[in-house]
């Protein structure tokens, strides 16, 4: 199994989820994060003074998936999340050793 971590632009969430739904990927977990990267931060101005907001709001998606579909999932996310602009984010893949569904105790890919 694979553990996929995707950092995306907040407003792409709906698009990504719709795309994943079509792959029958049922579960995912979303966290609000702040990202720092090549994309330049925003400037807010208060009473004439500029405030540099160097961290930008992003969403982190975490999905546990069967190893077989991992590549497909990564591609799908990439397509749905991409706008071609800097700051679109990244997708990372890690190995997942095991998974358990709390409610039933099912393990492995059954738990996903």
């Amino acid at each position: 199994m694979k553990w996929i971590v995707a950092i995306i632009q907040p407003h792409r969430l709906d698009a990504v989820r719709d795309a994943l739904n079509e792959l029958d990927i049922a579960g995912l977990t979303v966290t609000e994060v702040r990202g720092y990267g090549r994309q330049k931060g925003q400037t807010e101005i208060y009473r004439g003074a500029e405030y540099q907001i160097s961290y930008l709001p992003k969403l982190k998606l975490e999905l546990a998936v069967d190893a077989k579909v991992a590549t497909k999932v990564v591609d799908t996310i990439r397509e749905a999340a991409g706008t071609g602009k800097i700051g679109d984010g990244k997708i990372f893949v890690l190995d997942l050793k095991s998974a358990v569904r709390i409610r039933t105790g099912e393990t492995g890919t059954d738990a996903l």
Binding site: Y46, R47, G48, I53
Partner: protein
């Protein structure tokens, strides 16, 4: 004799002016700081209000409003002895107890204004001790000068609702405290933006509404003076807001909410000393000039003077109040729709008096504040530790957190 209508209006005005501080000013300031310091700002406001009220009754009112000499009042009404339940203020239709209460709300907001300068790094014990002493040593005497029959009153200075008494004293003292206190870490480049601009707007709105009590209430009667004062107050606020918005729109392409309502406060502070003397044209002009000057004063104080007057007390209140005081000498003229000069006064002579009033108040506020600061600093210190600044005063000084969402 008590006039029920006048009394009704001053009772209402008293409620409005208290509302300006609690929660108006408190929220205005609280929205501008970081979320970890919100409670400390609110706490300072409430605690100052309580302390100032008690001191006012104990001795402040007497120092400000009893005979005494040209510089300060006497102690004949300390602890409100000699104030009778049925006494009426000479020349008005309101009870003296009400006048004490109405003026108390001014004595509350003035030291509270100062706190905008020193937030996010001050010791709470300093705030309490300094504010209390300041009320007695700076505020009460200056009030006596201007409204209590002191030397400036004798010279015929114009200060309807507190340009000198409230805004100049507070603005100057704020700058003095900041000068000795030092800046917040990261100032001026890495200071964090206001944590809740929406709260700033809420506070500003409450200040605006409450200011009707402040200025129109200062007529001490419900009649044409109060009505015109309300109208010009409102106009000045509106025009200054639009000016500030316009400057930002041109300069940055985006007008901001914090800017807009800062303009509002600038306009209100500017019209205050003139509000009972000028007509609509005066209100509009004062708003225009006030909005403009305060906008550039903010930058001047922070970038040029390198003073971390965190919430711009000097630049908005001090500059606005002084500007309005000086221009009152112009717009009081009947040619601009004002009530006209006092007998024997001319625009030139009046302007001279206004300048003198402002300068004397600046000098006294600065000198006395510096002295008090040194004394209080020796007693209980001035600034919390850097670690506490980083962790935030809410938890380190008050053991609470503003938000548990």
């Amino acid at each position: 004799m008590v006039d029920s209508g006048d009394t009704a209006w001053i009772l209402t005005s008293t409620a409005l002016v208290l509302f300006m501080t609690l929660p108006g000013l408190a929220l205005f300031y609280a929205g501008l700081v970081q979320s970890k310091n919100i409670l400390s700002v609110l706490m300072q406001c409430v605690a100052i209000a309580c302390l100032a009220s008690v001191l006012w009754v104990v001795v402040g009112y007497s120092l400000a409003f009893t005979g005494g000499n040209a510089l300060v009042g006497g102690l004949s009404k300390a602890f409100l002895t000699g104030v009778s339940r049925d006494g009426v203020v000479d020349g008005t239709g309101i009870p003296e107890t009400l006048f004490i209460m109405f003026q108390m709300t001014f004595a509350i907001i003035t030291p509270a204004l100062i706190l905008g300068a020193y937030v996010e790094r001050i010791k709470f014990s300093f705030v309490m001790l300094f504010s209390g002493l300041w009320l007695l040593v700076v505020y009460a005497p200056v009030t006596h000068w201007v409204w209590g029959g002191g030397w400036l009153a004798d010279m015929g200075v114009l200060d309807f609702a507190g340009g000198i008494v409230v805004h100049v004293t507070a603005g100057v003292s704020a700058a003095v405290v900041v000068w000795k206190l030092g800046a917040r870490p990261g100032f001026p480049d890495q200071v964090r933006p206001p944590h809740a601009p929406w709260l700033v707007m809420v506070g500003a709105s409450m200040l605006w509404v409450g200011w009707f009590g402040f200025n129109a209430g200062s007529a001490l009667a419900a009649g044409t003076d109060a009505s015109m004062a309300m109208l010009v107050t409102h106009l000045s606020a509106c025009v200054a807001s639009l000016v500030w918005m316009g400057i930002e729109w041109m300069k940055f392409g985006k007008p901001s909410l914090v800017g807009l309502v800062t303009g509002t406060i600038a306009g209100l502070a500017t019209i205050t000393p003139a509000s009972g003397f000028v007509g609509p044209a005066g209100g509009i002009c004062l708003g225009f000039v006030g909005g403009f000057l305060c906008y550039f004063a903010v930058d001047f104080v922070k970038s040029r003077c390198k003073l971390d007057d965190s919430l711009d007390v000097l630049a908005v209140h001090g500059v606005g109040g002084a500007t309005g005081t000086l221009l009152a000498a112009v717009f009081v003229s009947t040619s601009f729709g004002g009530v006209g000069f006092a007998e024997g006064a001319t625009m030139g002579s009046q302007f001279g008096v206004q300048v003198l009033g402002v300068v004397a108040t600046i000098v006294w506020s600065a000198a006395a504040s510096l002295l008090l600061l040194k004394i209080v600093q020796a007693i209980c210190g001035l600034r919390v530790s850097d670690d506490d600044v980083i962790e935030g005063l809410d938890f380190t000084s008050h053991g609470e957190k503003g938000y548990h969402l």
